[in-house]
Symmetry: C2
Subunit: 335 residues, 2 copies
């Protein structure tokens, strides 16, 4: 099993009230670079802070790292446009952050990113791959491409109160600015990405398509952003088996998750890490509705659930990862 993390940025995350993946909107640009370092090294290296929500909920990278500590799976990090340097080894398939989707074009090089990521996806020699993402603002761009494809499903949020009205208004503006009607990109999913998506989408699509090309099983490790990627792949004509592994927090926040996974033929796994049994700061906010998913958290927890590692061990290791971060100079952002 190879665990792939695709990281990138979009200016869409800096729209007020959209994303909690950073202490403030500008800090969301640091989050993907830091997430990759946390999963790779267990601590910041080039980056200087641990990404936190405005209320102090730490990034799901802490949870993915904890599971990785226990299961020792191989990770491959892919960059699809960062604005902050990372010390994690990355395969670069894109080199610029996405524009605010309210601009005419959000991801001008969507096709090139897809092609390069597909070449990378074809290199995996293990029999299965889980693909996670780190892209603040990604549920808003997910809503954008779902609408451009003509799909009716909703998206989750990293905020306790999902700002669906705000996201819907941004997407309406985005479609208008791009001169595209809802459903108009149903036959051309990379056009949907180019106009109203983010650069992580074509990278995840490409990695998945490349892995499928060589007979590797693909699990999309994430929530509604990965539902949107699955929709893009289906609209592209990819009809291979696809799985979606997410958290109970996304499931509870998304009324139509099962309708969507049924519609796109996704084998759904929802994992509950039992965070309600602890009041540790790195876990309690998830119970209060923050973060919910990201950095492959749902996929990592699904791997833990399949293994002989208990969720008690996972929670203990999350405390340990968090403790190392706060003990050894990792400044905690925002809280």
């Amino acid at each position: 099993m190879t665990f792939v993390l695709v990281a990138g940025s979009t200016a869409t995350a800096t729209i007020d009230g959209i994303s909690a993946a950073g202490a403030n909107p500008d800090r969301t640009y640091h989050t993907p670079a830091a997430d990759l370092e946390l999963v790779t090294y267990g601590r910041p290296v080039f980056t200087d802070v641990v990404p936190m929500s405005p209320t102090g909920c730490p990034t799901p990278a802490v949870i993915t790292r904890a599971v990785r500590d226990l299961l020792a799976f191989e990770t491959v990090a892919i960059e699809a446009g960062l604005t902050v340097d990372t010390a994690a080894p990355i395969v670069q398939v894109g080199d610029q952050a996405g524009a605010d989707i309210r601009e005419a074009e959000a991801v001008p090089d969507a096709r090139q990113i897809f092609d390069r990521a597909r070449a990378v996806g074809r290199t995996f020699s293990n029999d299965a791959v889980s693909i996670g993402e780190s892209v603040p603002g990604g549920t808003t761009t997910a809503l954008g491409v779902l609408r451009a494809l003509g799909e009716p499903y909703g998206v989750s949020s990293s905020l306790p109160e999902n700002p669906l009205g705000r996201k819907g208004a941004v997407v309406d503006t985005a479609l208008e600015a791009s001169g595209i009607a809802a459903g108009e990109a149903a036959e051309d999913p990379l056009r949907a990405v180019r106009l109203v998506g983010d650069p992580v989408m074509p990278a995840v699509m490409g990695v998945a398509a490349g892995a499928i090309d060589t007979g590797v099983d693909v699990t999309l490790a994430g929530g509604t952003q990965m539902v949107a990627v699955a929709a893009l792949l289906r609209h592209l004509g990819v009809d291979a088996d696809l799985a979606l592994a997410t958290t109970v927090f996304v499931d509870e926040d998304t009324d139509d998750l099962r309708e969507a996974t049924d519609a796109f033929g996704l084998d759904l796994t929802v994992t509950d890490p039992g965070f309600e049994t602890t009041d540790h700061v790195a876990m309690q906010q998830y119970c209060q509705g923050e973060a919910k998913e990201g950095v492959g958290m749902g996929g990592a927890l699904a791997l833990a659930a399949e293994s002989d590692v208990s969720m008690r061990d996972v929670r203990g290791q999350i405390e340990s990862v968090y403790g190392n971060l706060t003990d050894t100079g990792g400044a905690i952002d925002g809280a």
Copy 2:
């Protein structure tokens, strides 16, 4: 054991008659990116050709990959300034190729590269690290920094007839263009790199220094370029144990190799892979004096010699790697 490969480019390689690390001088820019792909994946991915000398000697990356196939060591690739994209996962510590050393400044950001590489070097959790390089033109820049440091030792060459006169003339011009006399940078080795070195040097220095900081044993896997890096580290005041692992081909091409390793306190290992027993195209040119070293070849062969893998197995695997390259669409450059 972690096997680190540092790749970068310098315009110095395009000076006529300096480097055989590419079918022609301009192709030397492709070589480091392709070398990383060959060691990582066993084939080109984003790049389109296997680097070859003008006479058809394949890159030493083929040999390092073959040993990696047999020993399954972990690799970490570090970029210190490439002009061609690579699909290998890389930690980027520098982002621009070095200038021709006959310009005033060859590596303006030498200090920053060193600092970032040192942070990466501190992340290694294994007890030993071997560090190789891929930087066409690197023996000429090595001669440059040795002179700037006031060290008298010579360098090897990827060409059968070492163009020492040509290199010496380039270095003389380089020192003059940088306004520095021989020996003048003895107290400031990063100045030597900045003025007449290449970007791979401060990256290797930084990785080595960072690994030493955390008690990890360091082997410089290479020939006279790594002697120059050792000299830079000694002039920087690093007095920890350092090993140098190179090939018999470098040893035979370098009269004063042992004088230099003695002077810098390097524990020298010279490995003979027995290529004279085969007339396979991927090995015979080494016997005819080409390539000699690079991409950590000497370090990889030393690891093979220490293991229970025989040199016969290594030679067999080299044939296999080369065969896969020629069978599966890897165009062979130049030959």
